[in-house]
Amino acid sequence: MSDHIDGYARALLAVADAEGDVATTRSQLAAVARAVEANDELAASLANNLLPADVRSQIVDDLLANKTKPVTRALMGMIVSSGRGRDLSDIVAAFGRVSAAGRGQKVAVVRSAVPLSAAQTSRLSKALGAKIGQEVQLDFVIDPDVMGGVVTTIDDTVIDGSLRTRLARMREAL
């Protein structure tokens, strides 16, 4: 993690902590970062430092108005208006790691084709925590490429139970 990304992540954590709802803020920031990452035109606009900072901030306000908490919108505006739009995903990911580490947790990115139920989320969190010997913070990503099942990534460890990978293995076996 580079210093400036780590610095931004800690600043976000400080603001979110001051607002009193780190988990919701982290979750919303992660969702927004994935949405921006999936939209090349939007990502390019937010990363374009030739645009005035207030214009980039206005794009964020228009995009997130009434869809996220004000603190989430303010933190997104802070990132893009300070010229770090191209590092949005990294900063948000670092924010997740830093916030999780502050609570003695590990971040587990969970990719699935459909959302997990509350019961499944609870079971998965406990199972992962038992497996790594540390409480985990789950970040969910809906990814149709997974087809079915789940792919969990914790740091450099990938636990792949996706249908896509099973089909690929079946193809290799053939």
Binding site: S112, A113, V114, L116, S117, Q120, R123, L124, A127, L128, A130, K131, M147, G148, G149, V150, I159, G161, L163, L167, A168, M170, R171, L174
Partner: protein
């Protein structure tokens, strides 16, 4: 002697063989002796020298002929002596030539066999490579078709219930692995 003979053959008027005047006989005899002596004195050395030279030439020719004959006899003897060697040499050369030809023939046959074997091996290897490539291509194609068909089938059957089952199965495996 000649004079005596001539005198004995002569018939003179007096009925004797010798003329009546003996002085004539004497003078003739003396003259003959003188002429003969002069001849011996003056021409004798030249004649003797000629005879000697002729004799020496003949002797030289005889010696040369003898040497030639001896040389020829020597060569004949040598050739006769070498004749068995020539036969042996010819036989040896023939044997060597036969052996060389046989060896060349054997080498050529061996080389031809080696080349043929190499060509056969190379051909077999190429055929095997083509076969493997064809099998691999066919396998890949079947695999792709199978995967495509499977994915299509899976997509059609992946409803919420199946998705939930897949996620539950994943979590179950995690729980069992702990």
């Amino acid at each position: 002697m000649l004079l005596t003979f001539l005198a004995s053959e002569a018939h003179h008027e007096n009925g004797y063989h010798l003329p009546g005047d003996l002085n004539e006989v004497y003078i003739g005899t003396v003259a003959f002796i003188i002429v003969t002596a002069l001849l011996v004195k003056l021409a004798g050395p030249a004649i003797a020298k000629g005879f000697t030279a002729r004799s020496r030439a003949i002797e030289a020719e005889l010696a040369e002929a003898k040497a030639t004959r001896e040389s020829a006899e020597g060569q004949l003897t040598e050739s006769s002596a070498d004749l068995p060697n020539v036969d042996d040499e010819a036989e040896r050369i023939l044997a060597e030539a036969t052996e060389t030809a046989a060896r060349l023939k054997s080498d050529m046959i061996a080389q031809a066999n080696t080349d043929a074997e190499e060509l056969r091996s190379r051909g077999n290897a190429e055929v095997e490579n083509y076969r493997r490539q064809a099998v691999a291509d066919l396998t890949n194609e079947i695999s792709d078709l199978t995967r495509g068909a499977t994915e299509a089938l899976v997509d059609e059957t992946l409803d919420q219930s199946v998705q939930a089952d897949l996620i539950d199965g994943y979590i179950n495996q995690l729980e069992q692995a702990v």
